[in-house]
Symmetry: C3
Subunit: 256 residues, 3 copies
């Protein structure tokens, strides 16, 4: 039983999300459809890529992820299907794929658009159709002709220089937890177990917690989240707003 997930900035009130689900179920009544998020900030590819990146590895291999954000064809590299890490991704080549994957995908197919396809709602009329073809077990190669590259949008990646790591904030969740682009691998590689100071604009942290509850309520902590990214959080509080942390602000870790 195939799974199709949906990640969009369509919101939950309008008819757009259910229109896609209806289109999918009309073609493939037995498929399982799962919402990843429809509350992506409008037009914000970074927001979409972060949420999908955190979510998709939890799904089984072979899951098909439909991406409905900035889908308009003009200015894009076309409608594409991408196979990466054992999952399928379908969307407009608007830069989202370069934000989603650290390694550049090589299995890319341009989705063939038929002359009868409407272009005003590609997520429903074109992506759903391609998703159902893959869900039905059709070969990835049949989706369209091979495409060599994808539009690049360079995300800020954390970098190390000597004993320091410099990263930035990439996402603030609904609890006010702030995720950075610094992952455990880089932290361990540069730090080699040495003491360190994590420097925020108004605060510094000198240890990594394993659980929110290691600190008293209202206190700031740093931990690696369930995806091994460094997160700044406040127990039962809103770290983001209380510490005035914003997306793209920088964060430095100094090892001694």
């Amino acid at each position: 039983m195939a799974i199709i997930t949906l990640t969009t900035d369509f919101g939950l009130k309008d008819h757009y999300v259910s229109a896609i689900k209806g289109a999918i179920l009309s073609q493939l009544p037995t498929v399982t459809i799962v919402d990843i998020s429809h509350k992506i900030e409008k037009y914000n590819l970074l927001d979409a890529s972060f949420i999908l990146k955190e979510s998709y590895p939890n799904f089984p291999q072979g899951t098909i992820h439909l991406i409905g954000i900035n889908t308009e064809l003009s200015g894009s590299g076309g409608y594409v299907a991408v196979k990466q890490n054992g999952h399928y991704f379908i969307g407009t080549d608007n830069g989202i794929f370069s934000l989603l994957f650290e390694e550049t995908p090589r299995d890319i197919r341009e989705i063939a658009v038929e002359s009868t396809d409407k272009l005003s709602f590609p997520a429903r009329d074109i992506f759903a159709k391609a998703a159902c073809r893959l869900a039905r077990g059709e070969d990835f190669n049949s989706i369209g002709k091979q495409k060599e590259d994808l539009l690049q949008r360079i995300p800020f990646r954390a970098t190390s220089m000597g004993d320091n790591i410099r990263g930035s904030f990439v996402y603030i969740d609904s609890y006010g937890n702030v995720t950075t682009n610094i992952d455990k691998r880089l932290f361990d590689q540069v730090g080699k177990g040495r003491p360190f100071i994590i420097e925020l604009a108004r605060h510094s942290i000198e240890r990594i917690s394993k659980e929110y509850s290691e600190v008293p309520e209202g206190e700031v902590l740093a931990m690696f989240n369930s995806s091994d990214s460094l997160e700044i959080a406040m127990r039962n509080g809103k770290a983001g707003s209380l510490l005035n942390l914003k997306i793209n602000d920088s964060i430095t870790i100094r090892f001694q």
Copy 2:
């Protein structure tokens, strides 16, 4: 495998939506339930009818659409099941059906209420039961006795006079796109391919776009949406608020 959709003004926090789903799954564990929207503006039948009208044709023939808005019996024409355009609709006869369909439905059944049915939550206790009966393949006639007419609420329809079409705004979506009640059929019929001016309160538009991206960011455009209704939009902007367009405001198209 039958599909039951839900359209309500219940919101997404309270227990009401999941109570209906539990009631449905208790009767029919294999049915597929799809949310159309639960964020309909409270008590707003026009809002509900627009969203359901745009969404339901995407579902397969035979889908059962449960409508949970203004369900109270008093002042209504009763609880009804309606078969129209190959789909089933279940709700209270409060005027919603006259807003939903251009042609008056003729297949109407009054849902028989049993003396043990509670009336405080009909969407769960009465509509879910009727929906499951249809989903199980029971005959439409078995739902209740034939009903001749439905409560009428007259929606504003677009009208033409000579070389002009006069319509109004019926929905503003989460992107600020504003949909009118003018459809492509009327536009073509009156316009016959002639040049035209679309007159808004503060703006005029002289052409129909095929895609949002035909205009620069922030510019206003008119296009027929995926349901062939005329829509006023702004590329990556909020046409509704920036142009101060409101539901029920009028819009005129003058052909030359």
Copy 3:
């Protein structure tokens, strides 16, 4: 076909909810997952318990309810699975179960945590696994060793003294309807059919309605809701805000 429901304060934007769904579907592709609510007020166990209590009895016996709120292990009685009223409940023993059930559950299992389990996202990594084991039909006893008691948080219960019932408001829904902790059983037992006055801070009500529509628009009414709890409502209005009723405020019924 097993059903797993989700009740969390994770919200609908972040990736947390879909991560749990992905984890469940990776283990058990055919299970039916139903959202009860993800808009529980953050950290508010009372809010979570009310919504789940109202919703779960609508689901079939054997349904598994995963509870994702205040899941951190520290300060809790551990991760537990509880069997009560024919349903399974999985969560952290943080007091939620004492708010959820009037009778203290006796079928409690401590969920065995494996050394490889991460503790930063137990709802995904530990609860989902336990839920899938139950959904697959594994015996409740295999989930972990018997646990004797659960953390107690004492909810305010309505009490009677002579001819009076004293209760409080426990939930305000999205329509502004205010639910009390007074149920029909207590009302009938103390009242024995006598006339009464329901005293609110600024208002009094002398009868119980059967339907919202029994009173004119904007008028206040009292009714037993679909779960037999006394509710103060206003027809097509917001009783909660207009009457300035707040969670935990008291309400008195005097029988004559």
